[in-house]
Symmetry: C2
Subunit: 199 residues, 2 copies
DNA sequence: GGAGTAAGTTAGTGAGTACTAACAAACACA
DNA sequence: TGTGTTTGTTAGTACTCACTAACTTACTCC
């Protein structure tokens, strides 16, 4: 890892943790094991460090292709794949997302950048539901509403696990929660195929 | 509003918006229309202002009683009431929750405080589902899992609408999303009573 | 060995920030 | 009228922070 990389890695971690003002150039340099002078030789000022760090550590995913190649038109398996993809993306971008929540208004275009994936996912989910409906595999429904609820559920889980410290609210594993959430939507979208019986 | 109140109101808003370090005592005093000196006559230091502001603006709710009196054992109506209660609480505590996300590690006990309501709600939801099951109104299920998913869904919606600025992802109203989310869980928990048909 | 490049060291500047001291003004109430 | 209380004002302290200048050291490649 070269000097630029070292600095940016420490910067993105520390700013996500302590906020932009809370992470000082001195601390960043120290933790990156370079002198503060070196830091300013590589970047003209602190703001540019943040921008470069976001640039370096925001991973963009082309979900359209990802979807096209992996959907198998089995609601349970597809939704699971989508939820897992969602969490993979969000976790990779965890630091940038945290920074967007706390400093979004200070960094030009950051909110838009961070909203891109969810918006894409929403559109793809709607199209997926429409195609599933055409194939007679799920019921008629307001698919935008359902897509948003699926996303909100995933988002809530992600935020809760990633940013809220302290005693946890549940001991359930992330995997179990994700599988459970998929099951909820299966039952919602294919209500007559469930095996449960009211006793 | 007396001087204490004015200061605390401005402080909680500004710290939630800019972070603890980003909100300076000078700015707080200015916006509260008092001199900085007055601010320090009312509170010994900045940290104590934050603590007092959290104390003043964190609203605690006794959900147990609220539930006991308002449940009518109609899944749709009860879940809607619970979701609305959840959003009312979260919105009232919006500033404190934001501060908990960004400065949780700096304020003793803040995370625990903020996790209390969700934990209570989870327990009450589980008990509610168990009772509904006893009454033969919903299917057997992993109720902790279902309760958590319901909460995550509500949480995701809340965070998204409260803290994520920029172009919105959907134009659906909050009310519609909440109603939709309740419908998802109705179909999940009473799968044979739905009226939809797969075409 | 010499030249070029990246890094460290030291010392510093100017601005901002939390917080204080001292005194003056305004007001309430007896 | 006099006294206590609250607030404003002004000036200042000690510290931290982003950022710079100038010089030195280490490494590489020829």
């Amino acid at each position: 890892m070269n000097t630029d990389e070292k600095i940016l890695k420490v910067a993105i971690d520390m700013i996500a943790k302590k906020g932009y003002k809370g992470a000082t150039t001195k601390q960043i340099a120290e933790k990156a094991a370079v002198s503060e002078m070196t830091l300013f030789r590589h970047f003209p000022n602190k703001k540019k460090i943040l921008e470069a760090a976001i640039d370096r550590y925001y991973y963009s995913f082309q979900m359209k292709e990802l979807f096209d190649h992996n959907l198998i038109w089995d609601l349970g398996k597809d939704l699971l794949m989508i939820a897992e993809t969602y969490h993979t993306i969000m976790k990779k971008n965890k630091n940038v997302i945290k920074i967007a929540i706390q400093e979004g208004h200070n960094v030009q275009g950051l909110n838009e950048q961070v909203n891109k994936h969810p918006r894409q996912l929403k559109e793809l989910l709607i199209k997926y539901f429409e195609e599933m409906n055409k194939r007679g595999l799920i019921i008629d429904d307001d698919y935008e509403l359902t897509a948003m609820n699926f996303l909100y559920m995933s988002y809530g889980l992600f935020i809760s696990r990633s940013f809220v410290q302290g005693q946890t609210i549940t001991t359930l594993s992330e995997d179990d929660v994700i599988k459970g959430s998929v099951q909820v939507f299966i039952n919602h979208l294919t209500p007559n195929q469930v095996s449960h019986e009211i006793h």
